[in-house]
């Protein structure tokens, strides 16, 4: 082999070995494995890191929570950062490990988080969370007709059925509870098990396409999807609306007063509760949350969720 060929080969090898160096450059430094905020140690910074269970499409979450962060930052005078997580379990874990300071949890994940992190505080819920509903939906192709009586949930036996996330309150926990009251076991669905679509939006899309005959979603996402035209009435219909139960709420770490100054937790709660449709910024946030306003919430309100969670084995 000539020297020239050898040199060329060495250069080729080197450039390939070094090619990964280019990637972070190309990606403009956005190549952090986890969002930067999550990688920063909690004590050294005065950044309030907020998060949420990923119950809807990432595009929507990415539109909503940076708005929330900006608004809280303006009201409280601290830096607020939104840290996205990929599933419900990860949100609970990140709260326990102290990577998130304030999280928008569902009923079940909130109880899980509080049990795992004693001292954490329930701050606020939406007006609609006092009596939140699940909507069972079915594709028109499945031929399942709407019904009034809970007992008729038994019609779903033998159908292809999907929940949302495993840890979703309105997309799994309470629906499973209502199903079991109607005598439907998880093994009664086609294929011997229900699906877990991961989020409410995914459930609607999968039922609408006919992948599943039926599914269950939270009422607020269902209404929004009908309103946006994402859910087409010709393809997917609501078949049953569940009784009300307590759902989503904001939970904060118990040590925020030590880290951000005395009375910070109360100020944070007041800030959230003060959002009104009169303010353009706050109006946008409330609209994305599907709420008129937030109200202070108590941990005691979630006793029923905890009880059902224990019954189904999601809380231990």
């Amino acid at each position: 082999m000539t020297i020239r060929r050898r040199t060329a080969a060495v250069l080729a090898g080197l450039s390939l070995a070094l090619s990964p160096l280019l990637v972070p450059v190309l990606s403009g430094g956005g190549g952090a494995l986890m969002p930067r905020a999550a990688a920063e140690p909690a004590k050294a910074t005065r950044v309030l890191r907020i998060g949420a269970i990923p119950d809807q499409k990432p595009e929507k979450l990415n539109r909503l929570y940076p708005l929330v962060a900006a608004e809280l930052s303006r009201q409280l005078g601290v830096t607020v950062k939104y840290v996205p997580v990929v599933d419900y379990t990860a949100a609970v874990s990140a709260f326990r490990t102290g990577d998130l300071d304030l999280v928008w949890f569902g009923g079940l994940t909130g109880v899980q988080a509080r049990l795992q992190k004693p001292g954490s505080r329930v701050l606020a819920q939406r007006d609609i969370d006092v009596a939140f509903h699940s909507i069972f939906i079915a594709s028109t192709a499945s031929g399942i007709q709407p019904f009034r009586d809970q007992k008729d949930l038994a019609r779903l036996k033998g159908k292809r059925f999907t929940f949302g996330s495993e840890s979703s309150t309105s997309g799994r926990l309470m629906p499973q509870y209502f199903l079991s009251q109607a005598g439907v076991k998880l093994s009664d669905f086609a294929g011997g098990a229900p699906g877990f679509s991961g989020s409410h939006d995914a459930t609607i899309a999968l039922v609408q396409s006919g992948t599943y005959d039926a599914g269950v979603v939270n009422e607020q996402v269902w209404r929004t999807s009908l309103h946006d035209g994402k859910a087409k009435r010709s393809k997917v219909v609501a078949i049953w609306k569940s009784p009300g139960y307590q759902d989503y709420h904001w939970i904060a770490q118990g040590d925020l007063d030590q880290r951000f100054g005395k009375g910070f937790t109360v100020k944070l709660q007041q800030a959230i509760v003060s959002w009104r449709p009169g303010d353009p910024q706050q109006k946008q946030i409330l609209a994305l949350f599907g709420a008129q306003q937030f109200t202070p919430a108590e941990a005691a309100a979630y006793a029923k969720i905890e009880q059902v969670g224990r019954q189904i084995g999601k809380i231990r």
């Binding site: 990637v23 292809r160 229900p194």
Partner: protein, 514 residues
């Protein structure tokens, strides 16, 4: 009666009979429109600069995670491999007991899939970039260690004994006698592990540990097929680049192929190798820093909650026979599908060049897609079932095995095939008896090893489907039931170790027969 070797090759394909029989019952076709939409989107990926920039960042993270995890595992695996080599201890201490002890200890990290390591580490370390890197590095180190020690102990010891008899001190004799012959095997295996690491890093992303996998999963879940394909094409480019590069270096440095188990190889181009290894270390450090990997986080352990009250009664009442049975059946089905389909596809496609190309391309796609994504796609048209999960797992491994088979076939001498063709036999028969008979045993032996890998991988489709130990694991994880998780991981580890032993024996038998 012993079937002829090439017929042995087609035996696993018999699994197609029950699978094809069961398929009509599983088809629901409900999501056929979605599948069409998905296929059409392949030609019209999203070119939105915002999407592309995010995907490029994702690719960067995935490649970075793979590279750093792989680098650490290579170094740690080499050290651990030396530490678990019987030859080494016998030369230095006089007996091999410590080697056996270390080997046993290393079985545990090896038997747990990198995904489980990732999910468990996430619980104790929090949302840290180091989690994904460690999740790859831990099982890979143990795997590399096993291969290194196996290679080392299989080397002829005549040179070593001669040097020792001549009065050379232990360490120097070891390095001189065993270093050079060990190198090609280690380099070849190292290159292969880098390809595996890229697949693992993508998979970890699918389960939320960052990088391109996360983007792919989210796009599929929100049915954004155009964005999904932009990501898949990018990943394809990276994968092919990596495979080509590893193949190039393998040929250039005279390393043995994976299917050619007996081919003696002598490492060449020492200067190039030293140069490459020399650049690798600073490169790893640099990439690690760019990813934000901070070794200090390993010291900040978060306690697992609720460990004080183990509900062992509840753990015992899990449906263990179904879980274990489902896992095993899933492995056997998937393994038979993967091992059996590859030669069958090559035979069917043999007469037409375009068909051969198509088969090759379908394999590229198969190994490109993480199995959970394939499963989600399959669920658009198939009911959830064990066979659906087996298809997803089998197809992914088919992509890996098929490529190996083709490489192995290319290495065979073409003489027999040409003779058969000249004698007037058809292209299929010529390929079958002319080439495939030569690789049949080593291919099946590799298939035995791969089914052992598939047993570990059942956790991946189990998590996304509803089959076996894997599905129960996800349920237990989202319930934060540590006692159940611990029991499940333990059972998984046991199964893997037993499976490893069985596949080792099968492999040895197959190779002895050749």
């Amino acid at each position: 009666m012993r079937p002829a070797p090439p017929l042995l090759l087609l035996l696993p394909a018999l699994v197609l009979v029950p699978v094809l029989l069961a398929l009509p019952g599983l088809l629901h076709g409900g999501g056929l429109d979605l599948i069409m939409e998905f296929a059409a989107a392949a030609l019209t990926p999203s070119l939105d600069p915002v999407v592309l920039r995010a995907l490029l960042a994702g690719v960067g993270v995935t490649v970075g995670m793979a590279l750093v995890g792989w680098g650490i595992s290579l170094i740690a695996g080499l050290v651990l491999g030396l530490a678990s080599s019987r030859t080494l201890w016998r030369t230095l201490l006089g007996h091999a007991l410590p080697a056996d002890l270390i080997r046993r200890l290393l079985a545990l990290p090896r038997s747990i899939h990198e995904l489980l390591w990732g999910l468990l580490l996430l619980q104790v370390l929090g949302l840290q970039p180091a989690v994904a890197v460690l999740a790859i590095a831990i099982p890979y180190s143990a795997l590399v260690a096993r291969v290194v020690s196996d290679l080392l102990d299989a080397l002829p010891t005549a040179n070593l004994e001669a040097l020792r008899a001549g009065g050379a001190p232990g360490p120097a004799a070891l390095l001189t006698a065993l270093g050079p012959p060990l190198l090609p095997g280690v380099l070849s295996y190292g290159g292969y592990r880098l390809e595996c690491a890229l697949r693992s890093a993508t998979l970890l992303g699918v389960f939320g540990l960052g990088g391109l996998g996360t983007d792919l999963k989210l796009s599929l879940q929100s049915l954004e097929f155009h964005e999904l394909w932009s990501g898949l094409w990018l990943l394809l480019a990276v994968m092919l680049l990596l495979e080509t590069w590893v193949g190039l270096l393998r040929r250039r440095w005279g390393m043995p192929r994976r299917l050619a188990l007996h081919q003696p190889g002598v490492g060449r181009r020492g200067r190039e190798m030293v140069l490459a290894l020399g650049t690798l270390l600073p490169l790893l450090v640099w990439v690690g820093r760019a990813l934000g990997v901070d070794p200090a986080v390993l010291l900040h352990w978060q306690p697992l909650p609720g460990l004080e009250s183990g509900h062992w009664q509840a753990v015992l009442s899990l449906p263990w026979p179904q879980l274990v049975g489902g896992t095993l059946l899933l492995t056997v089905l998937a393994a038979a599908l993967a091992v059996g389909l590859a030669p069958l596809q090559l035979l069917v496609a043999a007469p037409w060049p375009w068909a051969r190309w198509l088969v090759g391309f379908s394999w590229v796609l198969a190994r490109l897609w993480p199995p959970p994504l394939t499963l989600l796609l399959l669920l658009f048209v198939l009911k959830p079932s064990l066979i659906t999960a087996a298809l997803a797992l089998g197809l992914h491994n088919l992509g890996i095995l098929g490529r190996l088979l083709r490489e192995g076939l290319q290495d065979q001498s073409p003489a027999a095939q040409q003779a058969l063709l000249a004698a007037g036999s058809g292209p299929r028969l010529a390929l079958f008896y002319g080439r495939m008979s030569g690789v049949a045993r080593s291919y099946l032996a590799y298939g035995a090893y791969r089914s052992d890998v598939m047993l570990r991988e059942t956790v991946v489709v189990g998590l996304a489907g509803a089959v076996g130990l894997g599905s129960q694991m996800l349920e237990s994880l989202s319930s934060f039931a540590w006692d159940q998780l611990a029991a499940l991981v333990l059972v998984y580890a046991l199964l893997t170790l037993v499976g490893e032993e069985l596949s080792d024996r099968l492999r040895r038998r197959l190779l002895r027969g050749s």
